[in-house]
């Protein structure tokens, strides 16, 4: 996540000082990506150096300096909204790596690894869903009380922002569960093959020649289905 872009997007609404930026950022993303204030000021300093933001004036009585976007900064924010997120910056996925290694390293119960992960991801999904229920109930209460803000009326709808973040986390977790379901089925099918596939040459060399991901001496049927009975 680019802190730089996030702060600039907030400054497009109007001048703010560091602590205010941090509070706004966290409030709108439900505290999912906490920022420390040092990070905010370092980013502001870098943006100022690059001519994207500028101080609105001197420090106030409490020593706070307010920042605003320069025209170059405003143009960069517009570009950010219009440009898709760069997938190359996606961090390495530990789970994918773990399962890829699990099928190549001998003696690992891959089914158990996948199952343990799926249970954990489902719990996570359940917790996220409960949070979502709470936000939706709050929105309904506000609507019933006549306090609901209409979309587009300029009022910042923090609950809506939080809901979008939560739903992103929910869909991501759901995708992981679906992928793990797929992994389990794939492993199950592989275990039923009459001649279990050997690990790739490189992995087999590293693990010891002749060893396979599914050692043939093992009862693979029982391994796949019976181990967790």
């Amino acid at each position: 996540m680019s802190v730089k872009q996030g702060l600039m997007a907030l400054l497009a609404e109007g001048p703010m000082y560091g602590a205010q930026l941090r509070a706004e950022f966290e409030q709108r993303t439900g505290g999912t990506w906490p920022l420390n204030v040092g990070q905010v000021y370092t980013t502001l300093a870098r943006l100022e150096r690059d001519g994207l933001v500028e101080a609105t004036g001197e420090a106030d009585a409490e020593g706070r300096i307010s920042y605003r976007l320069t025209p170059a900064g405003a143009s960069e924010v517009t570009t950010w909204w219009r440009t898709p997120v760069d997938r190359d910056s996606t961090p390495r996925n530990e789970l994918t790596i773990k399962l890829a290694l699990a099928v190549t390293v001998p003696g690992v119960d891959v089914q158990a690894v996948a199952q343990t992960q799926r249970t954990s991801t489902l719990r996570h999904l359940h917790d996220l869903t409960r949070l979502k229920q709470q936000v939706m109930a709050r929105q309904r209460d506000a609507e019933q009380a006549g306090e609901g803000s209409r979309p587009g009326d300029g009022e910042v709808n923090n609950d809506l922002a939080w809901l979008l973040v939560l739903e992103n986390l929910i869909f991501t977790a759901e995708a992981e569960v679906r992928w793990l379901d797929h992994v389990e089925t794939r492993l199950h099918r592989e275990s039923l093959r009459p001649f279990p596939r050997r690990a790739s040459a490189g992995a087999a060399d590293a693990a010891g020649a002749g060893r396979t991901a599914y050692p043939p001496e093992r009862d693979t049927e029982t391994e796949a289905t019976g181990a967790r009975r």
């Binding site: 439900g30 505290g31 999912t32 990506w33 906490p34 199952q115 799926r118 249970t119 991801t121 489902l122 719990r123 996570h124 999904l125 359940h126 917790d127 996220l128 869903t129 409960r130 949070l131 229920q133 939706m136 973040v165 939560l166 986390l169 929910i170 869909f171 977790a173 759901e174 569960v177 679906r178 379901d181 389990e184 089925t185 289905t225 967790r228 009975r229």
Partner: protein, 243 residues
């Protein structure tokens, strides 16, 4: 101690005998308490529907016990099971199963009328059930005058009309879009929060997440189950806010 709304004790269902016997369900134990919504997940052919049919008395277990609110179905005759089903168990299916020639209120009142309740009283109960689902204004509409989401909410009202406190739902959101499906789950969740017990078969993790627990089936065996609800602290951890 509270009596479970539904209890399956070491339940097996075997089709055929000898070498060709198929174990649709193999020694499953499961408990659903009042106020609890339990989701059942698993790949096709894992025994989800068999479990639901046994829980609702639509099928007989080969061994083990199926107990609804303290009454053992395995010790009852077909007539007794049918009576229990009419009074205590509601079903919700993917394709709603509403009768097209009856209004929403008439559909909901039907199980009560079949059970011998007077028409006027049955309709009153039906309107109450519809009101609980936020559907009072749709009472006089026919199924084809309602959206899929509304029809499914009518089906849930029908499942829970009168004294019924156990709802068995088989992929109730299968035919609905993401938002409408969620509305249906929300009302089901609300009814469970108000004390109803629910068993929800689904293959969608996002929908199973509305339940208090998720039970996984594979080849007729419970292979895993997620625990009961988390604390508030865990909820915040779920988003990373506490990290």
């Amino acid at each position: 101690m509270t009596t479970p709304s539904l209890l399956l004790e070491n339940v097996s269902r075997v089709h055929g005998t000898g070498e060709t016997a198929v174990h649709a369900l193999d020694g499953v134990t499961l408990e659903v308490m009042p106020g609890e919504l339990v989701a059942v997940m698993g790949p096709s052919g894992s025994g989800k529907s068999t479990l639901l049919n046994l829980a609702g008395g639509l099928d007989r277990a080969t061994s083990g016990r199926v107990v609804i609110e303290g009454d053992d179905l395995t010790a009852m005759d077909a007539k007794g099971i049918a009576r229990l089903r009419r009074r205590r168990v509601g079903f919700v299916f993917q394709d709603y199963n509403l009768i097209p020639s009856l209004t929403a209120a008439e559909n909901v009142a039907l199980p009560l009328e079949l059970d011998g309740e007077r028409v006027g009283q049955a309709r009153r109960h039906a309107r109450q059930a519809l009101e609980l689902m936020g559907l009072r204004e749709l009472s006089d509409r026919f199924p084809d005058q309602m959206s899929g989401g509304q029809q499914q909410r009518v089906a849930i009202a029908r499942a829970l009309v009168g004294t019924r406190r156990l709802v068995l739902a088989d992929e109730p959101t299968g035919a609905l879009d993401s938002h409408t499906g969620e509305d249906v789950l929300r009302v089901l969740r609300e009814r469970c929060d108000a004390g109803v017990a629910g068993l929800l078969v689904t293959h969608e993790a996002r929908h199973a997440a509305w339940a208090d627990r998720v039970v996984f089936l594979r080849d007729g065996v419970v292979v895993d189950t997620t625990g009961r609800a988390s604390s508030a602290e865990d909820l915040l951890d779920a988003t990373g806010a506490n990290r």
